[in-house]
């Protein structure tokens, strides 16, 4: 700590240059905070611990292909199956395509398999008894200011009605909540009654999009999954069954490898940052050669001088990076407050901070390495003589 003022004052020897450098570091880590928030949201969606005892069965060829409802009884009869439900992607648009949210037709018992989604008994009963009933997540309902009893029209993009109409109108009879703050993004979906959907749709009747099985014991998951798939082996509707966790991970990967995309962007940003701040540090040390020589003259060792320059470099990056990350936190919170949990962004929490701090220190060391080496190796008599 006793060297802090020495390091600090050296850093701000050229205030304008340092402020501009700090701004570029700030911008890089602001971007990192935002992108890592998105990446973390996708990663957590794919790795939620909820759902390890649920299996998802989809068509082996593509999860967009439907499966016959006749598989239901076969799966139900398998040992280790505790509960079974099914659903179908609807893909309807509410008012404007920009208002995207997941909407699915689900079987009557769908919510029995999702105890982490809180829905009152009265709302469950209303969902059961209302043919056109729909249940929305709290975040979604808040976003569109929906209240129980509201009529929600969706424009079909895949499933027109038998009547030729393209607008499906649902009655909002329930709003579910997810208590785990890390899974709040699950509150941005709308579910409606399967029976209404299946009877009214123009095609595909009797088929389901996917089955969801809850196993009686999570250790049986693999065994049950194999048994489910065995039911349709060599048929025209072979299935692929996996845990919901694995299914989510595979589904998220449909968007592309978010981690790779974020990594590639941040790699380019940090590479530029290293060149920029590396040049700044090199210039700063070059200007201070006589001062560094004085430090060595009065007894600072080579290692001390090396440490001072490296510390200055790390401090520069950590200072700019920390401000950038604080700003990223503010922006993420503002976006989440404005657009709800539908936005795939996690809060800028401890894990993002830890990753960022690790990067800051690493970049600081890389940026400072060459100037610090030069400072360490300078010969006092040459430096004092201006050679």
């Amino acid at each position: 700590m006793k060297y802090l003022q020495l390091i600090w004052s050296a850093m701000f020897r050229r205030k304008t240059r340092t402020i501009f450098t700090l701004l570029s570091v700030l911008a890089a880590f602001l971007l990192f905070g935002l992108l890592d928030s998105v990446r973390s949201a996708f990663a957590s969606a794919a790795s939620s611990v909820a759902g390890v005892d649920r299996l998802v069965t989809v068509s082996k060829i593509s999860f967009t292909l439907s499966l016959p409802k006749s598989l239901l009884s076969g799966i139900e009869a398998l040992p280790g199956v505790a509960k079974l439900t099914y659903a179908n992607w609807f893909g309807g648009i509410y008012q404007d395509p920009k208002n995207f949210f997941a909407n699915e037709a689900v079987a009557d018992n769908f919510f029995d398999l999702y105890p982490e989604w809180q829905l009152s008994a009265a709302e469950r009963t209303a969902f059961h008894n209302t043919r056109t009933g729909a249940v929305a997540g709290e975040s979604l309902a808040r976003k569109f200011n929906w209240k129980l009893g509201d009529k929600i029209p969706l424009q079909a993009t895949i499933f027109p009605q038998k009547s030729g109409g393209n607008t499906w109108t649902f009655d909002l009879v329930g709003i579910y909540r997810v208590s785990n703050p890390k899974q709040k993004n699950q509150e941005s979906a709308l579910f409606f009654n399967w029976d209404y959907f299946d009877e009214a749709r123009a095609f595909g009747n009797g088929n389901v999009g996917w089955y969801i099985t809850q196993v009686s014991d999570r250790t049986l998951a693999q065994q049950v999954a194999q048994a489910v798939d065995a039911l349709s082996t060599n048929s025209d509707h072979e299935t692929k069954t996996q845990t919901e966790q694995a299914f989510n991970a595979a589904f998220v990967s449909q968007y592309g490898d978010i981690g790779l995309i974020v990594g590639a962007i941040m790699g380019a940003v940090f590479f530029t940052l290293i060149l920029l701040t590396g040049n700044t540090m090199a210039q700063a040390v070059r200007e201070r050669i006589p001062e560094l020589a004085v430090l060595k003259t009065i007894g600072f060792s080579n290692q001390s001088v090396l440490g001072l320059v490296l510390a200055e470099s790390v401090l520069l990056i950590v200072l700019g990076g920390a401000i950038g990350l604080v700003l990223a936190g503010v922006v993420v919170d503002a976006v989440r407050a404005a657009l709800g949990e539908a936005v795939p962004m996690t809060r800028v929490g401890a894990s993002i901070w830890l990753r960022a701090l690790g990067l800051m220190v690493l970049i600081g060391l890389i940026v400072g390495a060459l100037p610090a080496r030069r400072a360490m190796r300078l010969r006092i008599v040459d430096a004092l003589a201006g050679r």
Partner: protein, 231 residues
Amino acid sequence: MSALVEVQNLSKIYQRGKQKIEVLHHVQLAIEQGDFMALMGPSGSGKTTLLNLIGGLDSPTDGSITIGGKRIDRLSEGALAKWRASNVGFVFQFYNLLPMLSARKNVELPLLLTHLSAAQRKRNAAVALELVALADRAAHKPSELSGGQQQRVAIARAIVSDPTLLVCDEPTGDLDRQSGAEVLTLLQQLNRDHGKTIIMVTHDPKAAEFAKHTLHLDKGSLVEQSEPSRP
């Protein structure tokens, strides 16, 4: 008095490209503890090189340098840095203060290498600044001080860790006559009242008059040792 500085058969050869330049040639020298020695000679005579070698800033090509009974020419770079921190104070022609630090913080710099507490460092720096009559300018940055004042801050920095030996390279070379005289008087006072052994390189015979003895170097060899100028 015993010899604080003993230089024996000292040679220094610089390699400049393919050319070898012998800057010092078998120099023999002894400086008593408590002496104030002026080192004079024309440009390129090797004065600063000799001063740098005695101050432990450079290593000789040949010969030995013993200071306070210690062979400093045999010390490693790290050990030499430690030795400098506690045994030598340096004063340069252009003061070489750190421009972004206040006078007090500049004076405190050598104390950062000690185990003194922050409060104690501050106290010691204040005492050193008092000694050079700049206590009232402690908070000022070098750019806010005159040349003479900056050199006095540099002297305070040189003495703050209480070294036995002060090496001064043209300490008045960048000062007007009056400021130069003040600095030389201060050095004289440090020598007389505080027992500091001082070796001062200078071009200026008037400045050399403030020393007790004067040595002359020419082409890397000592040519003459004067009688004490001021007993």
